[in-house]
C-alpha cells in the first residue's frame, strides 16, 4: 500500500500525467524532465489587481522536453482565461483548479488541457493559479519535503486532509468574484459560474464552496479525485459532480462518504468511480473509462441547463 502511494506521489509531484500511460518514467524520459524558465503568460490576469501579492520570480517550473508542465512556489495568484469561439459560447464558465498537493500545480494536464477541452465545448474556462505552500527551490530537495508533507497530510482518511493552503481558498473566491464582475465582457452568465478541481484543486473548489458567503460560491463544481471523507454540507450547497478511480492510492475508495453526505443533505450530486485510473488521470487515459470524464461532466452540466444559452446575444 505504502509503496503504491509513493509511486502515486512521485507521479503526482513529477507532473507526469502528460505521459502517465507508463507506470514510471524511463531513464530517457527522466532526462527530458527538468527545470525550465518561467513562462511569460501575458494572458494571466493578476487576481487582486494592483494589490496582487507576490511575484512571478518566485516560481519554479518543470518542463517536459522544454515545455512547461508544472509549477511550484506560486506567490502571485492569477487567472488565465481560455475562451470559446464566440459562436459556440454557451454562457457557462468554469474555473479550472489544477492539483499538486498545495505545493505544485499540474499546470498542463490539470489546467491547460482541461481548459481547452471545456472551451472546445463552448464553456469559458479560467485556469486558476492559486498560491502554494513554499517548497525548496532545489528540485530534488523539494521532492523530499513534498513527499513527507503529503504523507503526513493524508494520514487520517476519515477526515479531509490536514494538508491545506488557506490562501488557495481566498484565491478561488477572488476568481469567482472577478468572473462575475467581468461577466458581460467575457460573455458569461454570472449564474453559471462553476469550478472543476483535481486533487488539491478539488479541495480548493470544495473549500470555496464551504467558505463562500451566500450567493458568492460556485454555481456547480466538479470534484475530481478529491478526498472522499464526509464534510458538513450547507443547505445551499451547489450541485457536485464527483469522479475518482477505484484504484486511487491516495484517496482509496472506502465508500464515498462525501457523496453520501451531499445526498443526505438533499443536495444534487453525481458520482463516477472508474475501475482503473489511479490518482491523477486528468482528462483520462486512452482505452480506459476515465477517458469519458469530460463527456460525463459536460453532460451533467447540460442536464442542469448550464450549457443552454438563456438569452440571445
Amino acid at each position: 500500500m505504502m509503496k503504491k502511494i509513493l509511486v502515486a506521489a512521485l507521479l503526482l509531484f513529477a507532473a507526469l500525467p502528460v505521459m502517465a500511460q507508463s507506470v514510471a518514467p524511463t531513464e530517457a524520459q527522466k532526462r527530458r524532465i527538468g527545470p525550465v524558465a518561467t513562462p511569460e503568460q501575458p494572458e494571466a490576469i493578476p487576481l487582486y489587481g494592483d494589490k496582487t501579492p507576490g511575484s512571478r520570480s518566485s516560481e519554479n517550473w518543470i518542463g517536459v522536453m522544454g515545455y512547461p508542465v508544472s509549477v511550484r512556489n506560486v506567490t502571485r495568484p492569477t487567472l488565465t482565461p481560455v475562451l470559446p469561439d464566440p459562436a459556440k459560447a454557451t454562457g457557462a464558465a468554469v474555473i479550472v483548479a489544477p492539483g499538486g498537493a498545495f505545493m505544485e500545480l499540474s499546470w498542463h494536464a490539470e489546467g491547460i488541457a482541461v481548459a481547452r477541452a471545456l472551451a472546445d465545448l463552448g464553456i469559458a474556462a479560467f485556469i486558476l493559479k492559486y498560491r502554494l505552500l513554499k517548497t525548496p527551490a532545489d528540485e530534488a530537495e523539494a521532492r523530499k519535503v513534498m513527499m513527507q508533507r503529503m504523507m503526513a497530510g493524508v494520514r487520517d482518511r476519515t477526515r479531509q486532509p490536514s494538508l491545506q493552503a488557506p490562501e488557495s481558498t481566498k484565491d478561488a473566491l477572488a476568481a469567482l468574484a472577478m468572473i462575475r464582475s467581468r461577466a458581460a465582457e467575457w460573455h458569461v452568465d454570472p449564474a453559471k459560474v462553476g469550478m472543476v478541481g483535481f486533487s488539491a484543486g478539488a479541495m480548493t473548489a470544495l473549500n470555496a464552496v464551504q467558505a463562500a458567503p451566500a450567493g458568492k460560491g460556485p454555481n456547480f463544481f466538479g470534484y475530481i479525485y478529491g478526498p472522499q471523507a464526509a464534510v458538513p454540507v450547507r443547505a445551499d450547497a451547489p450541485p457536485m459532480f464527483a469522479a475518482i478511480a477505484m484504484d486511487d492510492p491516495l484517496f482509496p475508495a472506502q465508500g464515498f462518504p462525501i457523496v453520501t453526505a451531499w445526498r443526505a443533505a438533499k443536495r444534487p450530486v453525481e458520482l463516477h468511480a472508474y475501475e482503473r485510473g489511479g490518482h491523477g488521470f486528468g482528462l483520462g487515459y486512452v482505452n480506459t473509462t476515465t477517458a469519458e470524464f469530460m463527456d460525463q461532466f459536460t453532460a451533467w452540466m447540460a442536464m442542469h441547463g448550464f450549457m443552454t444559452k438563456a438569452t440571445k446575444r
Binding site: M246, A253, G255, V259, T260, R263, L271, E275
Partner: protein
C-alpha cells in the same frame, strides 16, 4: 402516481445476499419495495419508452431457446403480455423460462455473449425497456445477446385484476399511524436458478454459436440485477467450467447492500440513480465490498433518474449508461474479437 419521493422504510435485512436468501426462502420480505421494483414509468415522471428505439417484440427471426430444454418447467401459454401504465410492453406469468438469442450482424460478432435480465419486481418483465432495447444496443457492438425470460410470481391474468391486486397490496402495506409500511410477501420464482442455467446452456453450446465460453456475462436491471448477482454468488466455483459465474456483470439499479464477495468474483459494472427511491440511499456498500475484495468494480451514480431508467431518461446523464457499459466492456478487452 408520484412515488419518486417515497420515504422507503429502512429494510430489516442488512445485506443483499441475505435479502436474496430471504427471497428464495418461502416468506421473503421484498416489501413495499415490490412496487418500486416495477419498471420505469412507475417511478419516473417522464416516459422513457420511445417505440422508435425500443422494439415491443424480439427481432424477427431471433431464436427462442428453452433454458432447460425438454425438461423445462411450465408452459409458454401461461404468459400474459400487458402494457404497463398503458404504454410499456411487459410480460407476466412466465413459468417456462427461455432465452431469446439476438445475434450481431454477420461478420461483426466478437465472441462475447451477454445474458440480459430485465427487471419488474419478479412479477413482470420489462421486456421493452430493459430487454429488447438493451439487446439491440449490445448486438450493435458485436455481442451475441440472450434476453432471459426468467420465471415470475403469478399475477391475475386480466390487467384490471392485476392492477386492483397491486393497489390492494399498496393499501395493505400502509399503516394508519404513518410508521413503516407492512411488507407483502414474495415467493421465489426461480429466477436465480434460471440465470445460472442460462450461463451453463450458453457455455455448453458456445462453439455452435461462435461464442468464447470465457466471455459470457450478464447485465441485469433491478430484479434482473439481483438475478445476475445470484448467478455470481451461487454459481459453482468448481472445476466444471460451465457452471462458473458470469465472466462479467452489469448491475443496473440493484440493491446496494453489502455482500460477501467471492475471491474470484467477476468484474462488475454498477449503475444507479442517486435519487432512486428504492436503492439510492447514498449507500454504495456493494461497490466497496467488491473493491475491498480487490475485485474490479466501476460505479456510475447518476444525480437523477429514479428507478427503472433503462437506457436512460432523456435529458439526464442516465442516457450515458450504455455508452459507459460498452466502454467498460471495451476496457476489459471484450469488444474485440480474439485473435485466432
Amino acid at each position: 402516481m408520484k412515488v419518486t419521493h417515497w420515504n422507503l422504510p429502512a429494510m430489516p435485512i442488512t445485506t443483499a445476499k441475505e435479502w436474496i436468501i430471504e427471497m428464495t426462502g418461502r416468506s421473503a420480505l421484498l416489501g413495499f419495495a415490490a412496487l418500486a421494483l416495477l419498471p420505469s414509468s412507475a417511478v419516473n415522471a417522464q416516459p422513457v419508452i420511445d417505440p422508435a428505439t425500443a422494439a415491443a417484440e424480439a427481432p424477427k427471426g431471433s431464436a427462442v431457446i428453452p433454458v432447460y430444454g425438454t425438461g423445462s418447467p411450465g408452459r409458454p401459454s401461461d404468459e400474459v403480455v400487458s402494457k404497463w401504465m398503458g404504454k410499456e410492453v411487459v410480460v407476466r406469468n412466465v413459468t417456462y423460462p427461455t432465452l431469446t438469442m439476438i445475434a450481431p450482424a454477420k461478420g461483426t460478432a466478437n465472441g462475447t455473449a451477454v445474458v440480459v435480465a430485465p427487471g419488474g419486481g419478479f412479477m413482470m418483465l420489462a421486456m421493452q425497456n430493459e430487454g429488447w432495447r438493451v439487446a439491440k444496443a449490445l448486438a450493435d457492438r458485436g455481442i451475441t445477446v440472450f434476453v432471459l425470460k426468467y420465471r415470475l410470481n403469478p399475477t391475475p391474468p386480466a390487467d384490471a385484476d392485476w392492477y386492483a391486486g397491486m393497489k390492494q397490496m399498496f393499501v395493505a402495506s400502509q399503516t394508519k399511524d404513518g410508521t413503516a409500511p407492512k411488507r407483502p410477501e414474495i415467493k421465489d420464482p426461480g429466477a436465480g436458478a434460471d440465470g445460472i442455467a442460462s450461463l451453463k446452456l450458453i457455455r455448453s453450446r458456445a462453439a455452435e454459436w461462435g461464442i468464447d465460453p470465457k466471455r459470457v456475462g450478464m447485465i441485469g436491471f433491478s430484479a434482473g440485477a439481483m438475478t445476475a448477482l445470484r448467478a455470481v454468488l451461487e454459481s459453482g466455483t468448481d472445476s466444471d467450467p460451465q457452471t462458473r459465474a458470469p465472466d462479467f456483470v452489469g448491475f443496473i439499479y440493484g440493491p446496494m447492500g453489502k455482500v460477501e464477495v467471492p475471491a474470484d468474483a467477476p468484474p462488475m459494472f454498477v449503475a444507479l440513480a442517486i435519487d432512486d427511491p428504492l436503492f439510492g440511499r447514498g449507500d454504495f456498500s456493494i461497490v466497496t465490498a467488491w473493491n475491498s475484495a480487490k475485485r474490479p468494480v466501476e460505479l456510475h451514480a447518476y444525480q437523477t433518474g429514479g428507478h427503472g431508467f433503462g437506457l436512460g431518461t432523456p435529458g439526464t446523464t442516465t442516457t450515458l449508461m450504455m455508452t459507459e457499459f460498452l466502454a467498460w466492456l471495451d476496457m476489459q478487452g471484450l469488444l474485440k474479437a480474439k485473435a485466432k
